[in-house]
Amino acid sequence: MAARIGFLAPIVVYLAAFFGYPLVANITMAMREYTAASFYTGEAPFVGLANYAAVLSDPVFGTAMANTAVFTAASLAFQFGIGLALAVFFQRHFPLNGVLRSLLLIPWLLPLVVSGTVWRWIFDQEYGVLNQTLLGLGVIDSAVPWLSSTAMALPSVTVANIWVGIPFNMVILYGGLQSIPAHLYEAAALDGAGPWQRFRHVTWPLLRPVSAVVLMLGLVYTLKVFDVIMVLTQGGPANATQTLTTWSYSLSFGELDFGLGAAVGNLLIIIALVFALFYLRGLRTFGASPARKGR
């Protein structure tokens, strides 16, 4: 018994210190006037729910919520759609299949800061390849300020984020497709089902559990996206790309009001938690909960 505790004690202590404590600290911080000075004086007056009230009545709150929703929904829809199309495509047998599939993973492995930087260069108003190409082809008459106009910034940032997320969706969905027994397709083909019908009546229903997991994970990850937005726009211009994550950052580390930043962070957790519960319930429904899996 003592040996067993010895094996588990470090991880339990670690989880308590590096997850338990910070989560609790964030809750108490959000109820205090916690500013830069608090770190030196040790004084952070209790203010109850005033930080939440301040955050919720801040005009940026509505903007950040809407941006977060649009950014997340659009990212998920396109990452999933493109990822699924690619996964289906790579089901075919052809030379170089394996090599090309693993090359597609690269965007997922790169540091997000690097990906963001590349997209910033592509979107550059004057010298970026996007504007130069579109101007050259006569699609647009004047350079589009992809990152510096309030109308275009959010779509541009979302495009970069979709690009980052495609490989993750593709790989998991590909794995899901591989586990669908081939004889089902053969049977459907014998019954006269065309490619679309086979997708609609075999692939899609059998892929549902995997799809649900991919979408839930994608959602939780997308809510957290920080690097891509920071490198591309820093939440600007005029909060046009401000999400709850970047706003929390700018309140804490820009305005040095950690109480407000913590309050926004907690709202983010609540949102993530609601979806995480959906995710876990989904896992349970589909009987694939890793937590209970004991092969």
Binding site: L23, L104, Y127, L268
Partner: protein
């Protein structure tokens, strides 16, 4: 028939090449820009190929980002060591011992991976400040480990449960304790899972930007992700050097893909989902 099929597969391969080309174009564009002279990047139409290229960008990148690159290596190596030290015994225990609470622990490991990084940064800042660790390597190593440890425990455990229990039991009959079984029986067969966990811990830490930009203000400790970020801010004209830094910062990912390709796919789904 055979000819038609061959034409069809050839067509499919070409289609696949085009798809990959389009999706990887941003990477090509990074490499291309990194090899251009700074002035070559300010031309219309753009230079599509790095013909007559120069390594100026790389020279400038290494001159200004050498230290951050070294810092990234130190921090990532530290994260790998800490992550393995914490997660190997935990994974062993979770795969071997039937105890109350292991289910809760696994659930917690799954759930904490969903905590937004900004929340962690916010409160870790207070913790690091109180402990005097702000702007030190340990602060970043500890913070980065919070991303890697839950993932590593789950991935290692998922592998260790597949090791037949008899393997360890035989050793225990011979008088070996759990420590001995872990070290001499389980670890040797878990090599691949360990490599996967270590590679991903390295990559997570190497790619970290959020903790590096919040928990550190010392240039001597600054990793390359923040280096690039500041670099863009300060020299938006020197895109060749910025892109060269990007290419260098991508090397670990590329190496990982080449040397450990088969472990990568396992890692993508690992921890969160197993088939």
């Amino acid at each position: 028939m055979a000819v038609r099929r061959r034409v069809r597969t050839a067509f499919t391969t070409v289609t696949a090449l085009v798809i990959v080309g389009v999706l990887l174009f941003p990477l090509y564009w990074m490499v291309n820009a990194s090899l251009q002279p700074a002035t070559g990047l300010l031309e219309t139409p753009p230079r599509w190929f790095p013909a007559g290229g120069t390594l100026d960008g790389y020279r400038q990148a290494l001159a200004s980002q050498g230290r951050p690159l070294l810092n990234s290596i130190v921090i990532a190596a530290g994260t790998v060591a800490l992550t393995l030290a914490l997660s190997v015994p935990a994974a062993y225990a979770l795969s071997r011992f039937r105890m109350r609470g292991t289910g809760v622990l696994l659930f917690a490991l799954l759930l904490v991976q969903m905590v937004p990084g900004i929340v962690m940064a916010n409160s870790l800042y207070a913790v690091m400040n109180r402990t005097g660790l702000l702007s030190t390597y340990p602060a970043l190593i500890l913070a980065d480990s919070t991303v890697a440890v839950p993932f590593a425990v789950l991935i290692l455990r998922a592998f260790m449960v597949t090791i037949p229990a008899e393997l360890g039991e035989a050793a225990m009959v011979d008088g070996a304790g759990h420590g001995r079984v872990l070290w001499s029986v389980v670890l040797p067969v878990s090599r691949n899972a360990m490599i996967t966990a270590a590679l991903f811990a390295f990559l997570f830490s190497w790619a970290d930007f959020l903790f590096a930009v919040t928990l550190n203000s010392d240039e001597a400790v600054m990793p390359v992700t923040v280096g690039i970020y500041r670099f863009i801010g300060a020299h938006t004209a020197d895109w060749n050097a910025v892109m060269a830094t990007g290419v260098i910062a991508s090397i670990p990912a590329a190496v990982l893909l080449v040397v450990a390709q088969r472990y990568v796919a396992a890692g993508v789904t690992g921890g969160a989902l197993k088939d």
